[in-house]
Amino acid sequence: MKYFQLIWTALFRKKLRTLFTLLSLSAAFLLIGLLQAVTSLFAGSVDFLGADRLIVQARTSFTQSLPMRMLPQIEMLPGISRVNHSQFFGGQFQDSRQPFPQFVVNPQRLFDTYPEWVIDKDQRANFISTQDGAIVGRLLAERSGWKVGDIVPLNSFIWLKADGSRVWEWRVVGIFDGKNQEWKDRTQLMYLNYGQFEEARPLRAKGLAGVFVVRLKHPEDSQRVSDMIDAKFENSVDETKTQNEQEFQLGFIKQFGDIGFMMNLISAAVIFTILILTGYTMSQAVRERIPELAVLKCLGFTDNLVLWLVLAEALLLCAIGAGIGMGLSTMLTTALPAEFPPLRTDGRVWLFAATTVVGLALAVGLPPALRAKRLKIVDALAGR
């Protein structure tokens, strides 16, 4: 630590050059922070989803609805505590600028399969008893300004009423929240009562349930129960594919292609570019100071100490630049309005940045540091 002042002064020996290098480092790490936050969103956002829930979908595709008659057939299997059905509604409110998902469910079963949602007792009772009832997640309700008692018309691009109309009116009977921060962040959806949905559908669509959400008694049974469900419906018209909720969500995300791969590719390009830039600055900084380094050695600094001084300078440079960039990235992602995906410059991203800083500092610092270490005092002072 006693050498900190020395390193600091050496770093800002040429102020303009160091400033520019810091600015490009900051830009690079701002980008790395944002890109990795996107990767985190895709890879990690489903980490906390319960392993005690399975999703049963039609094997052909989750867009094919499974029939309602399968619900009791699934629920009677051992190891299952409760089953709900869930149908993606695909509704659009007025303009489609801010789409949000809605699911048609059985209100009585919803809170047994998703105990993570918190709702007022009366509102829950109203949701169960109101045929055209809907409950809205807190974040969604705040964003769109809906209150209990409002009627929300949704234009479904999937579901027609028997009379051919696409507009369904839903009565908001409750606002639900999450039990902890992760679930509170996810309250951007809407649940609709199956009652009105089933009654108003044309005959050909009646009796379809969508997918089934299965809550297990013991999370460790997950594999056994999924195999059991799939085996039960094997070779029937409605073959199933059962996955735990996390796999289901990941599969959904992977449909967009390998986003993590793209993000990492760009990150690699950024890191490589910054490596060349900073590497040049460091080698130049050391080259200019060769006589000074020789003086240090004359004063009794050992070869190794000089090596460490140069390495520490590189590390300090990279760390300051990365700190500014990552700070900006954190500020940006925190300030993101609620309608954007919940990007977070989280621990994983900071860890990625920290690793990059160390790697970068070694790569750009080691060659000049070794050069400084091997300096012969006589040659250096003579400017040879």
């Binding site: 050059r17 490009s24 830009a27 944002l34 967009f256 570019t273 830039l277």
Partner: protein, 394 residues
């Protein structure tokens, strides 16, 4: 010497000395190459997607969907309306007097990507036999067409490349029924090549559907479209949207391409800033290493303008080289690279990255812009150097 000759001389002299500053010059070249490579690569993705989707369909054909549905997936036409639609006088007829139209049914199936376990959504399109003759761009490149009423599949060329287990003779299972792959088709790289096709009635029976998703029809002439649209929209027994086939598919790519363009823009601007500061560093150090030289030139009577020009020329040439390198890199690594992503029908669309000349020009332009900004301040400093101090090489 006139200013112009001075500029010419000094620029040339400076450019010849670039190799002496190889280390510093690399910074500007590599920095800008990185920016341009990322920009061009990302935009080539949206260019490829747009190319695939806007190549789909023809202006001489019309698609009829249920009114208000935003794609084939959410459209439903029952048997009666689809039969009625086919009778429209704007639809061309063949030698037997039958309308040249195909009623088609879209369902989503899951097929895993190559090297993956989990299935991704793939369109299974049921077409009538007329659907094969109707699309003049369609060629069966391997095997044969599926026979009507039989559970046989013909797969698109891109689908076969992207997804696992789609070789001729392979068996797929949908809803407890077995389907055999009997052929591979190509439609000049358009969106249909990412699909699996089968006979419409076979799909209806396996998926227990009664109606269709869309009707595709050959128009008697390109101009017959407006009349057809007016007639079908006015028909009180139908609620339909009628669009030219090409317009319908071009529209489908818009959201995704604008999203990619936005992302590319943000990433390029941030990276561009990084490269700009690198360029500033390089050019300032280039100027400072030439201090004595610039002082000498000024003492000999060279003006300020030629000095500015020489620094700017160096910056622009290095930036241009970086831009070119970046574009070449993007081209070598990504042009023709096949990927698939979620398209409009909630199913996969396979497409190739397309590094177009326009994108290369755009990349070069951004490179020169960064080079210009990065050269300007150092050039001004060089011009303002007091001659006496500069001569001392300070």
């Amino acid at each position: 010497m006139s200013t112009l000759t001075q500029v010419g001389e000094i620029v040339l002299m400076n450019l010849r000395s670039i190799p002496q500053r190889a280390g510093a010059s690399t910074v500007i070249v590599v920095g800008i190459a990185g920016v341009v490579a990322v920009l061009v690569a990302m935009l080539s993705m949206s260019a490829g997607l747009e190319r695939t989707l806007s190549a789909t369909g023809s202006m001489d054909r019309a698609v009829v969907l249920r009114g208000g549905s935003n794609g084939e997936l959410s459209s439903f036409l029952d048997r009666a309306s689809s039969t009625l639609i086919e009778q429209d006088p704007s639809i061309a007829r063949n030698g037997d007097g039958l309308p040249i139209a195909s009623r088609e049914l879209i369902v989503i199936t899951e097929v895993p990507r190559k090297g993956q376990q989990n299935g991704t959504n793939v369109t299974l399109r049921g077409v009538e036999p007329m659907g094969f003759t109707l699309r003049s761009e369609l060629r069966v490149i391997q095997g044969r067409r599926p026979r009507p009423g039989i559970r046989e599949l013909i797969v698109g060329h891109s689908a076969q490349k992207q997804f696992d287990g789609l070789d001729i003779g392979a068996r797929l299972q949908f809803r407890g029924s077995d389907w055999y792959i009997v052929g591979v088709f190509s439609t000049n790289g358009d969106a249909h090549e990412s699909e699996l096709w089968a006979d419409a009635e076979a799909v209806q029976s396996a998926f227990q559907r009664t109606g269709y998703s869309s009707v595709l029809a050959q128009l008697t002439s390109r101009d017959a479209f407006d009349a057809m649209r007016a007639r079908l929209s006015a028909d009180p027994t139908l609620t339909v949207d009628v669009e030219r086939e090409q317009d319908y598919f071009s529209k489908q790519s818009r959201t995704l391409t604008s999203l990619i363009t936005w992302l590319a823009g943000i990433i390029t601007v941030i990276m561009g800033f990084g490269a700009l500061f690198g360029a500033l560093n390089t050019m300032y150090s280039a100027v400072s290493s030439r201090t004595a030289e610039i002082g000498t030139l000024r003492a000999l009577g060279f003006g300020a303008l030629p000095v500015v020009a020489s620094v700017m020329a160096e910056a622009l040439i290095l930036a241009g080289a970086g831009g070119l390198l970046g574009a070449v890199l993007a081209y070598a690594l990504f042009n023709g690279y096949s990927v698939s992503t979620l398209g409009s029908n909630f199913t996969q669309v396979a497409f190739d990255f397309a590094v177009t000349p326009a994108l290369v020009l755009l990349g070069l332009a951004s490179a020169l812009f960064i080079g210009f900004l990065g050269g300007l301040l150092p050039a001004l400093r060089a011009a303002r150097l007091p001659v006496t101090e500069a001569l001392r090489g300070a």
